[in-house]
Symmetry: C2
Subunit: 402 residues, 2 copies
């Protein structure tokens, strides 16, 4: 018991210190004082190497700053709030391509002109998360109105009519459901329903629907989680059907754990731990060099993505959250040991004690392949979300110990 307490305490301290450094890095380097919003293309030392503004990352940073401001005494700083609000205003003004239409751009110029639009729902999902958090920290209702209106639009695209996304209708395109879609929607249900009985009620059925759709990605008699399945839950042919993304499955795992906790459903929890935590970890962990592969093929064929064997920061952040949450909810010590295993690899390989923040992209052997700290897909999100959530969970575990 004393030893367990001590290990938990050491990790809590490490995680807490690391979070301080990571938040300081983004606060120092990423704010665009001129136009609002954030630079996320930051080199190793934090220097801006490109001024494009990726909407996913703008919105995620707003969300992250608000969460930190709201849940952590030491981050309850007006500077953090102001920066989040400036990011929010930038999004309100520029994210939508053709207001009052809801479709958001994928990337904007520094001053907010659209450069590229993706025909997916993800810019809009992160926009919704950002607006809901801004409402929670400021109490200003126009943020919440934005969030709920966007959520309704997303649900319409997913469940009723996707034509507004602009995808062409082609006779050979399989009706595939990427895991990301029900995952993100479930995450939004959690986000909007937090301490909000009205919205929790409004979206309860949607949450169940998302869960059922996510569970359909467990295939082959429960032996694999597939990234893409047909809408009625069948395996698709070819590479698309065999594609696996262990980090994504683990992230879905903790989204599902939150749902199971809310439902008070221990049977569902056990199923999730089995299929979305243990299965992707055991198939995805590199026995030779450690770390989680980025992509795999369910038949163990060579994936056709060039980066398949690289070790990326975010699957490791998500795995840390998933295992610590799994342990917190189930008490199974095997999950705590997996948390330690992933956290040790992650802290050893991804941290940059010299300049702060984490490297994002290692080669299979664990060598840093890209020295950037931020880019088109890496911003102020997975690392601080992982550290903040782990700090909270470690705190709770320590206070639970006799």
């Amino acid at each position: 018991m004393e030893k367990e307490r001590e290990t938990l305490r050491v990790w809590k301290e490490r995680v807490e210190q690391e979070l301080d450094g990571v938040v300081a890095f983004w606060m120092k380097h990423s704010r665009d004082q001129e136009h609002g919003g954030f630079f996320t293309c930051l080199g190793r030392s934090g220097k801006v190497y490109d001024k494009l503004k990726y909407v996913w990352l703008q919105a995620r940073q707003v969300w992250m700053y608000c969460r930190l401001y709201r849940n952590f005494q030491r981050f309850h700083q007006s500077e953090i709030l102001e920066s989040a609000k400036a990011g929010g205003e930038f999004l309100l003004r520029y994210a939508r391509v053709a207001p009052p239409g809801k479709k958001c751009a994928f990337v904007l110029t520094q001053d907010g002109r659209p450069v590229k639009v993706q025909r997916t729902i993800f810019s809009e999902c992160f926009y919704t998360m950002a607006m809901n958090e801004l409402w929670r920290v400021t109490g200003e209702v126009h943020y919440q109105r934005e969030a709920v209106e966007m959520m309704d639009q997303i649900v319409h695209w997913v469940q009723k009519d996707p034509s507004g996304l602009g995808r062409p209708q082609l006779s050979g395109t399989p009706a595939a459901e990427p895991l990301a879609v029900p995952m993100m929607l479930l995450n939004l249900v959690e986000q909007l329903g937090e301490a909000d009985e009205e919205l929790a009620g409004k979206y309860e059925e949607l949450g169940d629907w998302c869960t059922q759709r996510i569970l359909q990605h467990v295939q082959r008699d429960g032996q694999v989680v597939l990234e893409n399945v047909s809408e009625d839950g069948k395996e698709l042919s070819g590479c698309l059907g065999r594609h696996q993304n262990p980090g994504h499955a683990l992230e879905a795992g903790w989204f599902l754990l939150c749902h199971a906790r809310r439902k008070g459903d221990p049977k569902l929890r056990a199923h999730i731990i089995d299929k979305f935590l243990l299965l992707p970890f055991h198939s995805g962990w590199d026995p030779e060099h450690g770390g989680l592969f980025y992509f795999q093929d369910a038949d163990d064929l060579c994936p056709a993505q060039l980066e398949w064997d690289m070790k990326l920061w975010w699957p490791h952040s998500e795995a840390m959250i998933a295992f610590l949450m799994g342990y917190s909810d189930s008490g199974d010590p095997a999950l705590l040991h997996l948390f330690y295993q992933v956290a040790e690899y992650t802290f050893r390989q991804f941290r940059d004690p010299e300049y702060g923040e984490w490297f994002g992209y290692l080669n299979r052997e664990g060598k840093v392949a890209l020295t950037i700290k931020g880019g088109p897909f890496k911003g102020c999100f997975h690392v601080p979300r992982c550290l903040a959530m782990c700090e909270e969970m470690l705190d709770a575990l320590l206070s639970r110990l006799p």
Copy 2:
């Protein structure tokens, strides 16, 4: 002289043998007897791991088979011609998304239904190459009509009105010219103009225009070749502007050398060798592990593409062609030595003596990262084109020696 002859002779033999093996690999594994066209997603031993048909690769394989049939006695086989024609028929029937519209799909199902469409000109460019070669080997004029009509459509998209490509007009998108566009067009001018005075005349001005546009990619006082520049030949801001692709510059180099040869312009030739052969080689060759980097940043920052430091088969194939052509045209022995340097690395690292064809994707250190022999972007094209052209050039060099 005896030593030079001997080295050339050894390489000619190596290249010739290798071409035999590569052609045998594709003839054996890639033909779809059921629907026509080719499987290109082939594993290490040639096994089909996905049945999707990528239009670039379908068309390139048709082109390659015709070229081999036309220019090499030992490949003048009815089996090769029949396979090319079956590929051509597949393209005629299925490549266009909405005939009589000219826009082609990027990828089709095995039986020819469109899966994805790219908003670029490249499917159409390779379609044109395939149709022109089919006409050359069969004499059937409907192929040539297809080629010329498609060429006119491509020129219209590039020079007059790109709206038919379906790209959205967004106020923040820079009017960037990718090097690929004038390069591919120049290559088509060469293809259609071969031994055809009428078409050579028709496209002469276009060839000059392409050359001028390609030369605009030499920037910073002649110190770098940039992949994207503005339409009036200025450097663009950010990562897009600094992006470099050494293999692409080298490929453009030999396209330009063909043009300079046709023009009889030795001053242009010297400029090309300087800027499109030596510059990208010296900046792009990895001093530590050998091989050409895939991507670089003109300011030597870390590229944001995950695969930037990988060694791909095609930049090496293109470099072999470029240096041997540079030497053939200029007689500069430094270029012959660079050919040997690249060819030695390439044959050592990419060949697979066990199953034939080349690996496509090595990590920075030269280890095979993907064991596939074909995929969405690798088919029967760069390797056999390189080997066939090098065999012809080595032959010509040997016969020129006293």
